[in-house]
Symmetry: C2
Subunit: 101 residues, 2 copies
DNA sequence: CCAACACTTCGATACTTGTCGAACTATACG
DNA sequence: CGTATAGTTCGACAAGTATCGAAGTGTTGG
């Protein structure tokens, strides 16, 4: 039986909370898929492009991105005028481990 | 690149939403660990025992359990006066697969 | 049948949060 | 510079929901 530490539970909870909203989940999946495409095709994942896919305004996207970052699910980087998003591999590993029992 | 179907996203979203609340996550983890212990020691996971660990009333537990069931994360079974909880293995597999990219 | 126990349903309340418009900052480009 | 574009911050409002107490259902054991 794999016991869980309190700290882990809190971090996981934050992640689940971040993924709990449909728009934010879609946002995350979009970044996930774009990141995979980026790796193959050599371009970055631009927040700009994602916003067009979701049917919400810029302030909302900004808010959601901040929550994903805050949950350590992704990280963002300013590239001149634009913002690029990267999935945090550690988060994926951690979540994957949680469900692999 | 692993594309995702709309139906999958909706099911996953439900699961994340169910795990998003601290008490519900703790509830789920408790069931998870109890289930593992149950397998080894041959007893079931009783809702009754879990309620004593969380600091909330019976109505709240009932409500949360229903949401976990509704998200297909667990299933419950009446055993006489008591209620037993089992983790749904399919849900674990599905979630594990999502984060294993 | 009655009392005790485990859980559920209902209604109310308090808190959280997703969303937007408006105003702001930062960068690029003539 | 001045204008356009990308993103952020702020304040407000609507919608969702976690929680509880009270009352209800089902089951066990006397």
């Amino acid at each position: 039986m794999t016991k869980m530490k309190d700290k882990d539970a809190k971090a996981l909870g934050k992640m689940f909370k971040a993924l709990a909203h449909p728009n934010r989940l879609q946002l995350f999946v979009e970044i996930l898929e774009q990141s995979e495409a980026a790796f193959e095709e050599g371009h970055d994942c631009f927040a700009n492009a994602i916003m067009e896919k979701l049917n919400v305004g810029a302030p909302t996207i900004s808010h959601h991105l901040k929550e994903l970052v805050n949950a350590d699910l992704i990280s963002t980087e300013r590239k001149g005028k634009f913002l690029t998003c990267q999935v945090n591999p550690d988060a994926m590993k951690r979540l994957g481990a949680f469900f692999a029992r």
